[in-house]
Amino acid sequence: MYDRIEMREHSWRGAAVALLACLLALGAPALRAQGLDPGLAAVPVGNVTLRVESGTSEQDMLDVGLVIFSPGIPLDESLHSKLGIFPEIRKAEAQFMPVLLRQVLLETNAWGVVRVLPDKQVSSELLVTGKIRQSDGSRLVLEVSAWDATGRQWLDKTYTDTATERDYPATEGSDPYIDLYRQVANDLLAYRLRLDRRELQVIREVALMRYAASLSEEAFGSYLQRDPEGIYTLVRLPADGDPMMARVERIRNQEHLFVDTVDEQYVNLYEEMAPTYSLWRQYGREQALYQQDYEARAQTKERIGQRGTFSAMEQTYNTYKQIKIQEQDLDEMAQGFNNEVAPTVMEASGKVFRLSGTLESQYNEWRSILREIFVIETGLPAAS
């Protein structure tokens, strides 16, 4: 008798395990479909104090290039609403965030010129890239990577920060997620402090020679060696006072001049966008909290009337209606954000000189013009 009962229990336990496994198998695609990503579960950075250097020698200061962030908008448009992504806002954020990181890096007094770049510049002494994984009023998740000119990776990390009620309204010049930017700045500085002056000097020299090689591989390619891991080393250096190098430096300065003009536009965009963006995040957070709270209350709310009666169905419908109206208010706000900020973004993209296209394509066009000038001046074949 007991044996039978036990066997039956085993049988049902087995069935329960199998059923659970099956449910998990069924649930996995659903989770994937919702775009839920375990990578987004990174621990928030918490309160971070920015490490500020004093008396850093100019020789120890590297120039930093911050490339406009990747907005992290999924190609599959059906995921946008599921993930709460408003593409136009994301694109604006991708230009806004590097400017904020730039400000924080400058506050550390540890770096040379920090520029926001429309596109990757491999010859940057230190190049920082970022990708927005999540950005809303409650949470910011950024993937940040950094490489120096020798190809050595300094950073490849996902940062998360959460905002609380105290972070809003954001004061001028600050940000609800300022701790995240401070953490990135501290991590970059920690890495830099591990390098001695000679190593920093090598990074600067490699950066210059990589730039020179990008102008003319034939003339400057042999100064550098690249190992299978992609790390560059200097084989030799041009002689002091080499006239060709003087031209290279002049062309590079021209490029920097262009980047500085572009950079100025990103800063303008940041300043113009900041108040609206801050309100958008604050409202977004309030809406999300209200929605969560409402959903929780609705699920535990006492039912009116018997299931199937008009009063019970009306309650179900009105609960749903309420949440939909909230959701649509948020959509309308996103539209309001676009109405206010999009013209500025567009203006920022079309202002530089008489080049056409986006800042990124203008930058590439400018670089190719500089290369052509270099080829004309030196008579050397252009780098492929």
Partner: protein, 238 residues
């Protein structure tokens, strides 16, 4: 008594059933979906619409038809029967088809379809049906798939079925609402067939509402939403 063989057979059968169901719920869905690419469908509902009562269904008439249908025991598993005194008596499996449930279904249909004015915005990728005194029905179009949104308070599925646009809301407590939008041949009439289904009534309840185009009065100014300044209006008309 369960034999040792059965002990392993039950989990196996359950798992097979689940895998079968999983198969049913994912891939074949793609195949049986009668969804077409919106660019091919090219049905444009854009515009302002007002309810035309004369062409729309009368709820009372539809309710009578539902009750008549439920009275036929052969056609429905649960019927409605009349007692000697004339009161409606529960019929059907469990607690289905009570008078309150049947009338509740009709009242729900009336509540859901009460919007008299609609404003529809549509482009290649999405549609927004703004309904007076109700939330807007929205849908994003993706070739070959329905747009689905799931929340703890309900699930939405929408997409094209040839020239018709279907919105389906699966709400808690067995309540399902479906709106099927179709445009008349001249493009001047919009029919929305709203079907309300409850797990307490064995037949769904459908109401057809017909809308006709109207031209909203031009106020001589246009407004747009902004974040920092709220709604901003200019005298530049639309």
């Amino acid at each position: 008594m369960i034999s040792a063989r059965q002990q392993y057979l039950i989990p196996f059968l359950l798992c097979s059933l689940c895998l079968f169901l999983a198969g049913c719920s994912s891939q074949p869905e793609q195949q049986r979906r009668p969804v077409v690419n919106q660019t091919d469908a090219a049905v444009d509902f854009t515009g302002f619409w007002e309810l035309d009562y004369s062409q729309s269904d009368n709820i009372q008439v539809n309710l009578n038809a539902l009750v008549r249908g439920l009275r036929q025991p052969r056609s429905q598993p649960g019927g409605v029967y009349q007692q000697a005194g004339g009161t409606m008596v529960i019929g059907g499996p469990g607690s289905t088809n009570s008078g309150a449930s049947i009338i509740g279904l009709a009242q729900m249909a009336d509540l859901i379809t009460q919007s008299q004015l609609l404003e529809i915005e549509q482009d290649k990728h999405k549609i927004k049906v703004k309904r007076e005194e109700d939330f807007a029905l929205t849908c994003e179009f993706y070739p070959g798939q329905y747009h689905t949104i799931e929340t703890p308070l309900g699930k939405e599925i929408c997409g094209w079925d040839r020239h018709q646009l279907i919105f389906k809301n699966l709400l808690p407590e067995g309540l399902t609402i479906q709106h099927v939008m179709s445009l008349g041949p001249d493009g001047q009439r919009l029919n929305i067939a709203t079907t309300v289904t409850s797990d307490r009534v064995t037949s769904p309840f459908t109401v057809n509402r017909v809308y006709v185009r109207y031209q909203p009065t031009d106020d001589g100014y246009s407004c747009k939403m902004t974040i920092s300044r709220g709604r901003v209006c200019t005298t530049e008309s639309k």
